[in-house]
């Protein structure tokens, strides 16, 4: 057996999670659909946020889905790459800011 853990066709089966828990599945997808509706933020802005988060959580399904969604919404490659850099900056920054903790421990333990 040499089957990869991630398979692109599994994305289409996402809705099947409701099969084993219809009530929770329904609640999740209702919530999910409401989140992405046009409101204080436009659906286009939400799509770009989703793309950035998809890179942060490194979900290949979400990257596939929100690149396609962005293309449909007329988001261009410069906008998509900027969103990915926002994700990278926050993710990298989150590592780096812990350096403060390292510095404090270092200073405290040192003479």
């Amino acid at each position: 057996m040499n089957t990869p853990y991630y398979q692109s066709q599994d994305l289409k089966k996402f809705k099947n999670i409701s099969d084993w828990s219809p009530e929770l599945g329904k609640k999740f997808f209702d919530y999910y659909n409401s989140v992405f509706e046009e409101s204080a933020l436009s659906a286009r802005e939400k799509s770009l946020i989703a793309l950035a988060v998809a890179h942060t959580v490194q979900c290949p399904y979400c990257i596939d889905a929100y690149t396609q969604d962005g293309l449909e919404r007329g988001v261009d490659k410069e906008e998509m790459m900027e969103a990915v850099h926002v994700a990278a900056a926050i993710r990298g920054g989150a590592s780096l800011v812990h350096g403060v903790q390292m510095m404090e421990v270092y200073e405290k333990r040192s003479m």
Binding site: S42, A43, E72, R73, G74, D76
Partner: protein, 351 residues
Amino acid sequence: MATKSLKGRVHDLADSSTQLEFLSNGIFAPGGLPSFKEKLNTVQAEALKPKSLEILQMNLGYMCNQVCAHCHVDAGPDRKEMMSRATLEHCLQILKTTPVTTLDLTGGAPEMHPDFRWFVSEAAKIGVEDFIVRSNLTILRANKKYYDLPHFFKDHHIHVVSSLPFYKKDKTDRQRGEGVFSQSIQALVELNKVGYGKADSGFQLDLVYNPSGAFLPADQLALENDFKKALKKEYDIDFNQLFTITNLPISRFLEYLIASENYEDYMQLLVEAFNPAAVANVMCTNTLSVGWDGYLYDCDFNQMLDLKVASPVQHIKDFDLDQLQTREICVSQHCYGCTAGAGSSCQGSVA
């Protein structure tokens, strides 16, 4: 990007029967995705039938100054097919004797037809409610002999419908050819100058958005707002409406889908997005398409696949509206393009 049509390159897909065969096998072979006819049967018992005829769409010929990567017509400078004067006259006769309210001239670039101005003048005298010319925009700047077309359009109260796949250069030029975006912007400026696209001027200028790849168009109104904001801010350009049109898997777009290995995913996308509400308003139910050679089709896409109307009347010289109205509309798997998502027609989304 190719500089010649499929026909000019003697490509297999230049043959419509090869395209139809491709669309009927592979993932649509028995046991695979449902054919369009099967899918239609799940939402309505009957085949698609014409409603009353409203739109006469005439394809004046396949010659064009552009060779767009997604062109369903396989148009280009190397295509010489042109509608004859006799067929043009038959069309004028139909305008006089039928309840057609919209005349829609397309191509190729219809402006390149040698009888274009004569025909427009004659048809305008008959006085259809909505007289559309589908202009690729760059033709208006391609040669000095076309520079006065914005005035000519205005003088004949033409409703201009123009292709502009995006409000930025990169996506536009990748689909339509290097330099197309800047020439299109120049043409839009010229159309604005004579009043086209300006609020309350009465001179309608609509744009057509085609996705620049293997994906569906987004919500028509949301994209219209993006286009309006961007074109106004960057170029001070105004237009009236944006029509989103889904790329149908035929001709050069089919070539692209196959070459980029997107064909199966794209067809699955179209099938999954099948929308019964769009079926109710597909354009083939109120349109008749006339080919350059006078043959009649349910739509411009069927024309390119050589699917003539399923009627004893197949040519404009034998035109008989009552008989044509009893026909069944010819369908194949490309029809999924018009029923996906918000639906698609030459007048934009339909659901």
